[in-house]
């Protein structure tokens, strides 16, 4: 163990990626490979109801008929899905009892990011509630939430305690037939989060979960399901960091959000996964399907995301605006540095009358990275007076990176108004010198300029998340301008 911890320390201190650390917890693992037996193993391990196993098996059989998508503007070596481990759970509790036992350098980094103490604990592997690897442990706010009738727990727990809710809603927004990665997730998902806000309840707390990818060679397959009943409100936050790894890690998550009549859901995420080193070695593959449906009239869902991590990102948080007068919003900042690749954007599908959507996308590319925005705005025949406004901005640092915008518009009726604006700009030498001349150093100057550029999106984040995100943007771009 002693040697192991030395190794961990070395990994932490010797890496560029400041959040790369490894929690050494004995794993209860499935053997590598993916067959129906693997799926039965996972389902049995989690003591799931019969309908869940059937759902998984159907998804698996469908997945076997699919091919990995190739249309995204990203490149990566083929993934051998038979080499991955599809289930691992920590057998023991986390390795530390208090923060004092944690590597001080790590704590310093958390400090730099301004992460609250409880979250520091969970990130560092001190015993608190958090999603560690695949098995999530309860939630601290449970009591307060319980008083309001809000359910917020791990997906596994929800399967045990509220199977009827899961059965009713799971797969209703992202069916397992949706795409390759959604089918894979549906077959093998390990755990995730479930939030349920009853009718008329304004959730008194911001719900937040930290996800981590932990064991080597473990695909991480999270599932999140948020259901907001009529007239309810919830703000949900998800933040991610990942330990350093040499081989690529696959992450294929699903997030489903359902907002009923007059309900509002705010979903915010700051994603900071190991992007790989400067040469693009290592790093997380993030292939995620996120979708919400504004089911009822006057409902509203907003996605706000700050993406700084992953070697390859493939992610399009989307909204189906079915209810009349429903509103969808998408605010995104995606940073790519070194050899990172991101193909991200959104889909706004207008089905109801007078539906409104807003898309603000801010891409920032540095190093030799590639950053693509891909978005679809579709208004159906029945979506009278639907309106969309899209703004897609790209900021380039240096001259070796790329920014690409792929907007798709599909307008199905004459009364819809769809607007699209796009800009590309560079951080100019004039701006940098202006900051330097006021005594702000190069890193500080880039941080200021980038945060100013992304302000419209950052201002949509919950306060504590916004502060963390601002620092993250600066840190992600350290060393990106000579």
């Amino acid at each position: 163990m002693k040697n192991d911890s030395d190794k961990i320390l070395q990994e932490v201190t010797g890496s560029d990626y400041k959040y790369g650390f490894y929690t050494d917890i004995e794993m209860d693992q499935a053997p590598p490979g993916l067959t129906e037996d693997t799926i039965r193993f996972i389902s049995a391990k989690k003591n799931e109801p019969e309908f869940m196993l059937e759902f998984r098996l159907k998804a698996f059989r469908h997945w076997q008929t699919l091919k990995e998508p190739e249309w995204a503007h990203v490149e990566y070596p083929p993934i051998n899905y038979q080499d991955l481990i599809y289930y691992s759970a920590p057998r023991k509790r986390p390795k530390y009892d208090s923060l004092e036992e944690v590597d001080p350098e790590l704590l310093e980094t958390f400090e730099k990011l301004g992460i609250p103490l409880d979250e520091q604990k969970s990130l560092a592997g001190v015993a608190v509630d958090a999603v560690m690897d695949s098995v999530s442990v309860g939630s601290t706010f449970k009591k307060t939430l319980g008083e309001h009738g809000v359910i917020f727990c791990s997906f596994s727990e929800a399967l045990q305690k509220h199977p009827e809710l899961i059965k009713k809603h799971m797969g209703s927004v992202v069916p397992y037939t949706d795409n390759f990665f959604a089918a894979l997730n549906s077959a093998v998902f390990s755990d995730g989060s479930f939030a349920y806000i009853p009718k008329g309840v304004r959730c008194p707390l911001e719900l937040s979960t930290y996800f981590r990818i932990n064991a080597a060679n473990t695909g991480q397959f999270e599932r999140t399901l948020i259901v907001a009943e009529e007239g309810s409100y919830v703000s949900y936050m998800e933040g991610c960091t990942a330990p350093i790894r040499d081989e690529h890690q696959l992450h294929a998550a699903i997030v489903e959000i359902i907002a009923h009549k007059d309900a509002e859901v705010k979903y915010s995420t700051v994603q900071n996964w190991w992007p790989g080193d400067k040469e693009g070695k290592g790093g997380v593959y993030n292939f995620v399907t996120k979708r919400g449906i504004c089911e009822g009239e006057h409902s509203k869902i907003s996605w706000t995301q700050v993406e700084t991590g992953s070697a390859v990102t493939w992610k399009y948080p989307s909204l189906i605006l079915r209810g009349d007068n429903s509103t969808g919003e998408f605010y995104s900042v995606a940073v790519t540095n070194n050899k990172q690749q991101a193909d991200t954007g959104t889909k706004m599908i207008h089905l109801g009358k007078n539906t409104r959507s807003t898309i603000i996308s801010k891409g920032i590319s540095a190093g030799r990275s590639n950053n693509s925005y891909r978005g679809l705005v579709k208004t159906s025949k029945k979506a009278e007076n639907a309106r969309n406004f899209s703004q897609c901005d790209s900021l380039l640092l240096g001259d070796q990176c790329g920014a690409h915008t792929f907007p798709y518009l599909d307008v199905g009726n004459r009364s819809s108004i769809v607007e699209h604006e796009a800009t590309t700009s560079k951080i100019s030498e004039d701006q940098l010198f202006y900051c330097l001349q006021r005594g702000i150093d190069m890193e500080g100057a880039i941080g200021l300029i980038v945060n100013g550029y992304a302000k419209e999106v950052l201002s949509k984040l919950p306060m504590e998340f916004a502060v963390e995100a601002q620092k993250l943007l600066s840190i992600s771009l350290e060393g990106s301008v000579g």
């Binding site: 330097l436 001349q437 006021r438 702000i440």
Partner: protein, 252 residues
């Protein structure tokens, strides 16, 4: 305070400053005048440490330190301020945020604690009054959508906040109407102290009606070819730059 000896500087291999000498002492106001292309802005940039210019020869000493050894941000923290001829826009960054960052960077360098939000706001209010700037301006993004006059006033406001030892104002008067010009000049005069110095770079004599210089230098083809008191500026205004060119020593 500032001592420039035999300075030569170039950009992309083209020599702009050709053996320039200048001495600036505490409490003094110097005006540097000259026709377009004479090297006025280049001189300002070289003193501020802009890396697009190469210093090929000569020395620049500031407060006993070899200035050319210091990176631009250190020069700023050491008290050198450049009022830009064309202040650049930084979208999304409020002037308040920008200046608080700048002041706290300087304080950190000097070993002082950073200003708290409240302390900074108080300082900002005080300086706004001093240089007669509208209070709304500081909530706006740095120079974004500013009129020419607002940009220049903003430079003076930043100067007031940073309290430089040596301020170089690069054509701060260009493009200003008479009211804005007065605001800028009043700011400079109010900030004048026995222990700081100002170098005003200008094309026209007009600004010098409001800021009285102790010395006036005429820069021509990368060199100071004539120095004098404020009367030199008036003479220049009357006779034009052709007059000094004729007076310039042969070979220039």
């Amino acid at each position: 305070m500032l001592s420039i000896k035999n300075l030569s500087a170039s950009i992309n291999g083209k020599t702009i400053i050709k053996g320039l000498n200048l001495e600036v002492k505490e409490g003094e106001v110097h005006a540097i005048m000259g026709p377009n292309g004479s090297g006025k802005s280049t001189l300002a940039s070289v003193i501020a440490g802009r890396e697009t210019f190469d210093v090929d020869e000569g020395t620049v000493t500031y407060m006993g330190k070899d200035l050319l050894e210091l990176p631009a941000e250190t020069r700023a923290r050491e008290g050198i301020f450049l009022g830009f001829q064309y202040p650049v826009e930084i979208p999304g960054v409020s002037i308040a945020n920008f200046m608080r960052t700048a002041i706290n960077e300087k304080r950190k360098y000097l070993g002082l604690d950073p200003l708290t939000g409240a302390e900074f706001l108080r300082l900002m209010e005080e300086k706004k009054k001093m240089v007669d700037i509208q209070s709304k301006l500081t909530n706006r993004s740095v120079n974004e959508g500013f009129s020419g006059g607002e940009k220049k006033k903003n430079e003076i406001f930043q100067m007031a906040l940073l309290e430089p030892r040596l301020a170089i104002l690069d054509e701060t008067d260009s493009g200003l109407d008479i009211d804005a010009l007065k605001v800028v000049a009043n700011g400079v005069n109010k900030l004048r102290r026995p222990d700081n110095a100002t170098v005003v770079i200008t094309h026209y004599q007009r600004l010098l009606d409001y800021i009285t210089p102790d010395f006036v230098h005429v820069l021509y083809d990368g060199r100071i070819i004539k120095s004098g008191d404020k009367n030199l500026a008036l003479e220049l205004e009357e006779k034009g730059y052709e007059w000094v060119k004729k007076e310039a020593p042969a070979g220039v």
